[in-house]
C-alpha cells in the first residue's frame, strides 16, 4: 500500500480544501499545530515525508467528527489509518501514553502459547457455560485494571456487571480464558501485522468454540469484530452485538423489570459506538426504561458528541486534557449528577482527567462517571 492507494481508497482527491474538518476537529480546536486539512493537502501534493514524519499524524482521534461536515465525504480517519501504516513502516510512531505498556502488552499477547490468568475475577457468583452459543468477549479489562488503578477506575466492574446482566436475562455466556486483545489499537496506530496475528488467534478460538452470537461491553472490540475482522478476511459467521443493543432488544420483546434508581444522568456517546456504528438510540432507550432515571442531553450529543480526547493510548497530551475538561464541564452544565458512558476507555480518560483537579492546570470540575452496564446491573438488582 502506498500513498496513492490510500488517496484512491479514501477518496481524498475530492478534497475541496474548505477546512471544515479543521473547524470541527476536537483536537484542532485546542491544538493550533494540528490541521486535518493540511494533512490532506500535503498528501495530495505528494509531500509524503511531511505526512509520515509528522508526529501530529498520531494525534488524530479517528472519531469521525470531521466526516459530519465534509462536503466531499472524504474518509479522513481511514486516510489517517493508512498513513499511519506508512509511518510505522518508516519507523515512526506516536508518543505512547503510560510509557507504551499497553502496546507492549498487545504485542506480547500475539504469542499463541501464552498462558494467561485473565479470568481471576470470575467467581461462582456468575454463571457461565462451556456449551453456550453466546460468547461474552471480556476484552482488555483484566489488563486495564492494574494500569488504571491510580485514577480510581475498576474496568473489571464492567465485565462483572455485564455478566450479571446476561445472567439475569437468562443467558449463561461462554467466556474464553485464552482470548486476546481484539487488536483495535494496533490496527489504528498502523501496526497491521500485530493486528492480524491477534485477529487470527481470536477468530480461530471463536470458530473452535462454535458460538453463534458474541456480546461486547466495549465498543472498540465491537467495531473491530464487526467491521475490521471481515475487512481483513477473518469472517466469523456470528451475530455481533453490543450489550446495550441486546438490552434494547430484550426491552422490546420481553420487557425487563428494573427497580427505581433516582438519578439525573447524561450520556456520552463513545465514538466507536456512535459515529462509527450508528448506535445512538439503544443505550438511551435502556436508560429511559429505568424508572427514576432522568436523561438530559449535553450541548453536543449523538452525532455531534465530543470524543474523550485520546485514542489508542497515543499522543495523550495537554490538548487531550483540555478536550476532556471541556467535555466534563459540558456534562456538568446539564445539571446531571452522573455521566454515563458505555466505553471503558471513555471512563478511564474522564476519570484520569479529574485526578489532579484543583491543581493549577487541572480541571475545575467533578462529576461521577459510570458505565451504562453498571447502572443497569444496579437497577436490575444484581
Amino acid at each position: 500500500m502506498n500513498l496513492d492507494n490510500i488517496i484512491q481508497q479514501t477518496k481524498t482527491y475530492y478534497c475541496l480544501e474548505c477546512g471544515k474538518c479543521t473547524s470541527i476537529c476536537p483536537i484542532a480546536k485546542f491544538d493550533p499545530a494540528y490541521s486535518p486539512r493540511v494533512m490532506i493537502e500535503n498528501a495530495l501534493l505528494g509531500l509524503e515525508d511531511e505526512l509520515v514524519y509528522n508526529k501530529k499524524l498520531f494525534s488524530c482521534l479517528t472519531c469521525y467528527t470531521c466526516q459530519l461536515e465534509c462536503p466531499s465525504d472524504v474518509d479522513y480517519p481511514m486516510f489517517v489509518r493508512g498513513a499511519r501504516v506508512l509511518a510505522q513502516q518508516a519507523g515512526e510512531h506516536g508518543d505512547y501514553a503510560h510509557s507504551g505498556q499497553l502496546q507492549s502488552l498487545e504485542r506480547i499477547m500475539t504469542n499463541p502459547v501464552l498462558k494467561q490468568n485473565r479470568l481471576d475475577w470470575l467467581t461462582n457468583e456468575y454463571r457461565t457455560s462451556e456449551q453456550s452459543d453466546t460468547l461474552y468477549f471480556v476484552g482488555c479489562s483484566p489488563y486495564f485494571e492494574p494500569v488504571f488503578e491510580y485514577s480510581g477506575v475498576r474496568t473489571l466492574n464492567i465485565a462483572e456487571a455485564s455478566l450479571k446482566i446476561l445472567n439475569s436475562l437468562g443467558i449463561e455466556p461462554m467466556v474464553l480464558p485464552e482470548e486476546r486483545c481484539c487488536g483495535h489499537d494496533m490496527l489504528w496506530t498502523g501496526d497491521v501485522e500485530t493486528f492480524k496475528k491477534l485477529a487470527e488467534h481470536n477468530s480461530g478460538l471463536i470458530k473452535e468454540s462454535g458460538v453463534k452470537k458474541i456480546i461486547f461491553s466495549c465498543p472498540e472490540g465491537y467495531r473491530t469484530f464487526k467491521l475490521d475482522y471481515p475487512e481483513y478476511g477473518f469472517n466469523l459467521d456470528c451475530e455481533i452485538m453490543h450489550i446495550s443493543e441486546l438490552l434494547a432488544q430484550k426491552l422490546e420483546t420481553d420487557g425487563i423489570s428494573f427497580k427505581e434508581v433516582k438519578k439525573k444522568v447524561t450520556y456520552q456517546d463513545p465514538c466507536r459506538l456512535g459515529r462509527h456504528l450508528g448506535v445512538y438510540d439503544a443505550p438511551r432507550k435502556v436508560l429511559q426504561a429505568i424508572p427514576g432515571i432522568e436523561l438530559v442531553e449535553m450541548e453536543h450529543n449523538k452525532e455531534e458528541s465530543i470524543c474523550c480526547g485520546t485514542s489508542c493510548f497515543t499522543n495523550c497530551d495537554s490538548y487531550s486534557k483540555e478536550i476532556r475538561a471541556a467535555r466534563l464541564l459540558e456534562a456538568k452544565a446539564t445539571g446531571a449528577e452522573t455521566l454515563i458512558t458505555s466505553c471503558p476507555k471513555c471512563q478511564t480518560h474522564f476519570k484520569c482527567a479529574m485526578v489532579n483537579k484543583g491543581e493549577e492546570k487541572g480541571p475545575d470540575v467533578e462529576i461521577e462517571v459510570m458505565d451504562l452496564v453498571n447502572l443497569v446491573a444496579d437497577a436490575m438488582g444484581g
Partner: protein, 141 residues
Amino acid sequence: MAEFEPLIIGFACNWCTYAASDLAATARVPLPHNVRLIRVMCSGMVDPIYVLKAFEGGADGVLVAGCKYTDCHYIDGPIKCDAMVEKLRKVLHVLGLEDRFRREMISTSEGVVYTRVIEEMAEHLKKLGPSPLKSKMEALA
C-alpha cells in the same frame, strides 16, 4: 540437546546492586553466567515498560534490584520501585509471567547475596522452562 540455560535480564541500581556484582567479581566468587545486568541510576527509575520489553524480547526472567530503604542515594527510590512493582505484578499475573519476575534489595557489601539471588533465580527458571515468548526471539535469530 544442551541443558536449558535461562536468560535473566537484571536492572541493577548503580549505587548498590551493581556495586555488589562488582564486589562479587573482585572477591572471585564464581558468578552464574545467566544474567545480563543493565545498570540504572536508581531502582526507582525502572518503568514497567523496561520489564515488559525484556519479556517481549524473550527473557526467561527479569530481576529488578536496588538499594534497601535506608541506603537510597535519592532518598525514596525503593519506595517508588515498590509502588511500580506492585502494579506491574498484577499485570504480569494476568499475562501468566509473574513467576518469572523478581524484586530484590541488595546493598553494596552483599556480593554473596547477589550471586545467591541469581543462582536461586536461575534454578527456579530452569524448573519453569523457557519463557513462552522465547519462540519470538528464536525466530529472529
